[in-house]
Amino acid sequence: MIHVTATESDAVRAIEAEAISSRFARGWHCLGLAEKYKDGKPHTVQAFGQKLVVFTGADGKTNVLDGYCRHMGGDLSQGTVKGNEIACPFHDWRWGGDGRCKQIPYSRRVPLRARTAAWPTMEQDQLLFVWNDPEGNKPPADVTIPLIAGATRDDWTDWRWTETVVHTNAREVIDNVVDMAHFFYIHQSFPTYFKNVFENQTATQIMKGVTREDSRRQREGSGGGGGPRMLGNTSVATYHGPSFMIDELTYHYDGYDLSSVLINCHYPIDETSFSLHSGIIVQHSDKLPPEVAEATAEKLSTFILAGFEQDIEIWRNKTRIDNPLLCEEDGPVYQLRRWYQQFYVDVAEVQPEMTDRFEFEIDTTRPVESWKKEVEENLARLDAAEAPA
C-alpha cells in the first residue's frame, strides 16, 4: 500500500480567525463636526463598547462622560445641560466635564467618590476628538493629530461630512491602507503606483492612479459628460493613530489640478461595529471659483460615500481572516496589522517592531498590464452593446 503525504501545496488552506478582543484602541478618535455637539443639548454616543454622553457647557467646552449617572444609573444623555454641567434626568445630580459631581440640589453635600469616567477631548479644525485609553492615561503631548491647513482657510470649502454605521470590526477598514487591488475591483480606480510607509504612530499609503475609461463611459455614456476630463489622481493618505486618516488628494484634470483633503475616520461602537465618517474640503482656484468648489466638494462627498458603500457590501459578506494568503502584488497586510497592534496593547508592551519604520513599494507592472486589458475588454463590450443591430 502506498501512502501519499500531502505536500504543502496540496494541503487545503484554512482560514484562521481568533476571537475579537473587546479592548478598544488607544488614541484620538474623531466624533465628527464639533458644531453638532454645541446645540446646548446632551448627545448619546455609543462608543468603545459603552454609552457616552457628549455635551457642551455654557463655557463652550465640549465634554465626554460615561453615559450613566453614578447615583442610580440614570441616562445622562437624556438629561439637561445646566451651566457647565450635565444634569441627570432621574434626580438632577450635576456632573462636570472633569467627571466630578458638582452639586446635588436636594442634598447638603456631595458624597465622596462622586466621580465618573471622563474622556479627554480636543477640538481642532472644527472637529471634535475624544481620547480613549484602556489604561486610563492622559494623552501624551507628542501624540497628536496634525492641523489641516485648508480646514480653517477662506480659500477652501467648508467640510462636507458623512457618518455611516458599519457592522463589522474596525480592522477591515484599516486593511484598506495596503490593499491596492481592491481599488480596481471594488472602487473602479486604476492604481499605477502604490507605496506604504509605517513609522511610529503613522501609516501612510501613497497611490497614483489614472481614470478608467470603462467606468467613465458607464457613468457618462459614449457622448461624454462634457466638462473637463479628469486624467487621474495622486493620493497621500496617512493614519495618525488608529482611526484618523488624512488624505491629501489631488485630482489631475486636463490643464489643471484640483486640491482636496479627504478625512476617512471612525470610532468603534463595539467590537463588531463602528461609526465610519468621511469629510472633504476642496481648495478654490482660478479654475474652481468658490461656488464651483462647493459644488465639487458636494459631488466628491457623494462619490466617497458611494465608495464606502462598495466596501460595506464586501464587509457585510466576507469573513474575518487572520492569515490572508498573499501574492507578491499585494501590499504588506501583516506588517500593517503589526503596526496597528501597538494601539491594542499597554504602552509598556509596545514592541519596536510595531513602530519601527517599514517601507513597501509594490511592483505595479503586472497589475497595470492586466487591468489595461480588462478595461479594453469592457470598452469593447460597451461598443458592441451600443452598436446598431
Binding site: I206, P332, R357
Partner: protein, 78 residues
C-alpha cells in the same frame, strides 16, 4: 492577537543591506526589480540623514539596494 508572519518571507527572507552614506543597515527584500520592502530598526533610522520627507525612501539607501540586487548580495526573487 497573536502576531503572524508574512508568509511571502518564506520564499525569500529579508536580508541586510548597508548604506554607504551613513551607518544604517536595514533589512531588504525584493520580489522583483520594481518591488522593495525595507525594514528599519531604531539604530538605522537614527543614523540615516537621507529621508527628507517622511514618505520618501532615502536616495542613498535606494542606490545601495540597487547595487546589492545587481551584485547578488540580495536575491531578486522574480
Amino acid at each position: 492577537m497573536t502576531s503572524r508572519q508574512d508568509e511571502r518571507l518564506l520564499d525569500g527572507p529579508l536580508l541586510p543591506v548597508a548604506c554607504r552614506r551613513c551607518a544604517a543597515e536595514v533589512l531588504v527584500r525584493k520580489s522583483s526589480w520594481e518591488q522593495t520592502s525595507i525594514q528599519w530598526n531604531a539604530g538605522a533610522r537614527a543614523a540615516c540623514v537621507g529621508i527628507e520627507h517622511p514618505h520618501d525612501t532615502c536616495p542613498a539607501l535606494r542606490s545601495a539596494i540597487q547595487e546589492a540586487a545587481l551584485t547578488g548580495s540580495i536575491k531578486v526573487i522574480e
